[in-house]
């Protein structure tokens, strides 16, 4: 999966794959490429020949092909010399791309194979708070519109008095496009319907009780019909999401592990006068 992310990445047009692997090898200390021979093999020839043919609209002659291959060998030599001279280090674009690429190589070492239900269930249990939905409230309300009453609060208070005198909430008040009955909703949903602060006004209202609340549109008599506590959904219902999150975390961890190995194998000298900073950085490293 990570390969795909890597492959989707923008690449500098001058950084061919060969160069990348080459650079990556150098980075990981797995070779000493400066001294090694430049080998012009059939695969390379075919690639150059195909590219040349597309440009010319016909097969290149032997001379043309040789000329193009010489240019390619020159490029390779320049590329190697540039690396040997450390020219890549001075270029912020090359530097950034190499850092990203190497990070992806580490991320790719994450073991994403064989995602069993057990593994996902364990992940879900471990990150419970991320998947628990918000607590929700269902309500019925009667509306007193600012645009229909001189004193909408007083109007709503009248409606509340009617309710408390034994009347029904249904059938009271002004029309509201969302209707009188609002099914189980999160606080964010309620604020999107009624405006800021509306959900906070409901927090202390017990089920079956009614309160007067202000909205963006006027005043409301609001009766809380039901409350549902936050709960964790079954894995089967959120499997795709959990799998995605777990894979992301594993890749992140693989990159972290790779960095740890690099740090452990590297000599990092802290020439710092600030002792506090030195201690903090040593701790962080």
């Amino acid at each position: 999966m990570r390969i795909r992310a890597l492959l989707r990445e923008p690449l500098l047009h001058f950084a061919a794959l060969g160069g990348l692997i080459f650079a990556a090898n150098a980075w990981f200390g797995e070779g000493a490429p400066e001294g090694s021979a430049v080998v012009v093999d059939q695969a390379w020839v075919s690639g150059v020949e195909a590219g040349l043919g597309r440009g010319l609209g016909r097969a290149p002659t032997t001379e043309e092909l040789a000329e193009a291959l010489r240019a390619a060998v020159d490029d390779e030599l320049l590329f190697r010399e540039g690396l040997a001279l450390g020219l890549d280090r001075g270029d912020p674009i090359v530097r950034r791309r190499l850092i990203q690429k190497t990070r992806f190589l580490h991320e790719d070492r994450a073991d994403l194979e064989g995602v069993s239900d057990e593994k996902l269930a364990a992940y879900l249990a471990e990150h419970r708070e991320r998947y628990v939905g918000a607590a929700r409230v269902g309500l019925t309300h009667a509306f007193a519109a600012t645009d229909r009453h001189d004193d909408p609060e007083a109007k709503a208070a009248e409606l509340l008095a009617e309710l408390r005198a034994g009347g029904a909430l249904e059938g009271l008040g002004d029309p509201f496009p969302h209707g009188q009955r609002i099914g189980l909703r999160t606080p964010a949903d309620l604020e999107a319907l009624f405006g800021q602060g509306f959900a906070a006004g409901l927090v202390d209202v017990p089920v079956g009780e009614a309160a007067l609340l202000r909205s963006s549109y006027g005043w409301h008599v609001v009766r809380v019909d039901e409350r549902e506590a936050a709960s964790l959904p079954a894995l089967s219902l959120i499997r795709a999401r959990v799998e995605r999150d777990r894979a992301e975390e594993l890749r992140e961890r693989a990159a972290e592990a790779g960095l740890r190995r690099l740090r452990e194998g590297a000599q990092i000298v802290l020439e710092l006068e600030d002792e506090g900073l030195r201690a903090a950085l040593e701790e962080a490293l």
Partner: protein
């Protein structure tokens, strides 16, 4: 789960059986939603979004992929380009209110080519085309863009075919990833927090006149391949293939196609021509069935109405002077069509705007017995940043990645129209619950509307016997459901001697913790009809609110004057002619607010502002609005 397409022959046989069956409530396994409401809830969405999988998004450093775009819609932040040295985006953006539903609609063309051009091991990675693409050279943009035009358009042999990419196979892989992204973000629990649709954009044009459509699927049952304009050369061919490959080919597959940017089409998107050799009635019926909606507003401007064109009778409508992508003067196509709308050229047709299209639909219905343009109304963003629902005028970051990074870039850019671009709009549906099937079905029955961005709640019903006191009744919806039809429907056969009634009930956008909604100014009914000689007429009625003198101080963007929090009215057509086919839709206007371009101009030091900050044809303010789907009337002799 992706099912393979059955053969067309088999599919046709199935179609005969399948037609009679109503769609199952859920094709996919899922829990019922807790907030299911037979009187329908209001949900907000964006059905037109491009991510890094679109060639014209990637090229401007957009790296938000479909998975990330779906998560942005649910409230997660992204960082837009340009990138800093560490390769991170430098412009963080998050929605102040998550969306309820969303479809990422990447161009189905070039899914393989973009993947190949950005994959180092691919067979085309080193080609000049790909190098130019990765360098974001204008020539690469133009060659990909022009490659979409004309009925002969095809994949480039420089990128696809022998020795190059296996483009169908690779596009299929990318398509699977798009499906996985939609699946991972779809909430199948009973909380129903987020609904995602699997979708793509078919991006055909002819003579650079826009014919684009978004293709939206109802469930996870979708064909193995998206259809590109290379596979289906014409809109009609797209529709016949959607019919055979999805509806007739796969159990549980249902789909719609939503055209957009008629304003870019020189009359071609809605010109009523039918493929040679096809039965006109059948072709019109297929179109009516698969294309129940039109997107009338998005970042490339408004397609509701324009003043001054021939062929529509009625007074000028001052509120049509709204978010026009092209500056005047404009040539009138008359009864013909033009070319090159997508590059800001060519004539403008009455068929480039909703009103003309709806009238043309009535005309076609009179002529062939089928209305191919019985269109509901939506709006969306068409963002190319992978940021669905980012429509705020005061936080507009442009639509094309690093190309729109600064106020100067946005104001003077050329993709496509700098200061004339818009942040785009939203689509609202009234559906029983927030699941794919329920929202899709509400879209299909056109109980949907569009806004230029704000979340204005609007309910509309039409009927012959709607009670006059509906605006005093808290059971307005139940009463109107019982005695009328909601937006998007045809009126039932006429009863009584008088004209139909329309009831409108609207609430202002309540705003969010970081952004106030603007008050409402007025609600209008727009009536269109054909007279006895077939001439089209439009009349606009203020039915609630009206001119309230509200304005904006353009030097500070402070609003001046009050407006309404809610509006409600029951209106009866005062000049109804029972013999005349007609439609009625509602437009709700906010008080004026500051346009994004004014805010961007103010953000630039006075001496450094581009000239267009003083251009009188660029409005300083915007009257944001909602447009509802129409309600139609046809004489009783119909059918």
């Amino acid at each position: 789960m992706v099912l393979r397409t059955s053969s067309v022959l088999f599919a046709s046989a199935l179609a005969l059986v399948g037609c009679a069956e109503p769609p199952a409530p859920w094709v996919d396994e899922r829990e019922p939603c807790d907030d299911n409401n037979p009187e329908r809830n209001l949900y907000w969405g964006d059905l037109h979004i491009h991510s890094s999988y679109s060639f014209d998004a990637w090229i401007d450093d957009v790296r938000v992929d479909p998975a990330r775009a779906y998560r942005f819609a649910a409230g997660e932040a992204v960082a837009l380009p340009p990138f800093n040295e560490a390769g991170e985006g430098t412009r963080p953006l998050a929605l102040d209110r998550p969306l309820d539903f969303v479809a990422v609609t990447d161009h189905s063309e070039y899914l393989a080519e973009v993947e190949g051009c950005t994959t180092p091991s691919s067979a085309i990675f080193e080609t000049d085309r790909c190098v130019a693409f990765r360098e974001a050279s204008p020539s690469a943009f133009v060659s990909f863009g022009l490659g979409l035009d004309g009925d002969a358009a095809d994949h480039s042999p420089a990128l696809c075919g022998d020795g190059k990419l296996d483009c169908p196979a690779l596009a299929g892989e990318v398509w699977s990833r798009i499906q996985s992204a939609a699946e991972a973000a779809y909430d199948r629990t009973s909380a129903c927090e987020m609904t995602t649709f699997i979708a793509y954009e078919w991006s055909g044009s002819r003579d650079l006149s826009n014919l684009h459509r978004n293709v939206i699927f109802r469930s996870s049952q979708v064909p193995a391949m998206p259809i590109s304009r290379f596979d289906a050369k014409t809109p009609h061919s797209l529709l016949t293939r959607l019919q055979s490959e999805c509806r007739d080919g796969i159990d549980g597959c249902e789909v719609m196609s939503i055209p957009h940017n008629a304003n870019w089409s020189n009359g071609q998107l809605f010109f009523p021509d039918y493929p040679e050799g096809e039965d006109e009635g059948e072709a019109a019926a297929l179109r009516a069935d698969l294309e129940p909606l039109v997107e009338v507003f998005q970042h490339k401007g408004d397609s509701e109405c324009i003043n001054g064109l021939s062929g529509i009778l009625g007074s000028a409508d001052e509120f049509c002077d709204f978010e026009k992508l092209r500056p005047p003067p404009l040539e009138d196509c008359g009864d013909g069509t033009g070319t090159q709308g997508m590059v800001g050229q060519g004539c403008i047709s009455r068929l480039d705007y909703l009103r003309g299209v709806l009238l043309e639909g009535l005309r076609e219905e009179a002529r062939i017995g089928v209305n191919p343009y019985m269109l509901g109304v939506i709006a969306s963003t068409d963002t190319h940043n992978g940021t669905p629902g980012a429509v705020a005028e005061d936080e507009f970051m442009g639509h094309f990645g690093s190309r729109d990074a600064t106020p100067i870039d946005r104001l003077t850019g050329a993709r496509p129209a700098g200061a004339r671009n818009s942040p785009g709009g939203l689509v609202a549906v009234w559906s029983e619950e927030k699941s794919r099937e329920s929202i899709f079905d509400a879209l299909k029955r056109r109980e949907t509307y569009g806004t230029s961005g704000p979340r204005i709640a609007v309910r509309v019903f039409g009927g012959w016997d709607l009670a006059d006191d509906l605006c005093e009744r808290p059971d307005l919806v139940a009463a109107a459901d019982a005695s009328g039809v909601p937006m998007g429907s045809a009126l039932p056969p006429r009863s009584g001697d008088e004209g139909p009634k329309i009831v409108v009930s609207a609430l202002r956008d309540p705003g969010s913790a970081v952004r106030l909604g603007a008050p409402l100014q007025r609600a209008q009914v727009i009536k269109g009809w054909l007279d006895g000689s077939g001439e089209g007429h439009i009349e606009v009625f203020d039915v609630a609110g009206g001119d309230n003198g509200a304005s904006v101080d353009p030097t500070t963007c402070e609003p001046v004057g009050a407006g309404a929090d809610s509006l409600c009215a029951v209106w009866r057509d005062p000049s109804f002619d029972p013999d005349a086919r007609a439609f009625y839709y509602v437009r709700v206007l906010e008080n004026p607010t500051c346009r994004w371009s004014t805010r961007d101009c103010l953000a630039i030091p006075e001496g450094e502002r581009p000239e267009l900050c003083d251009d009188p044809t660029i409005e300083e303010t915007i009257q944001e609005r909602a447009w509802t789907s129409p309600i139609w009337y046809g004489p009783a002799t119909d059918g």
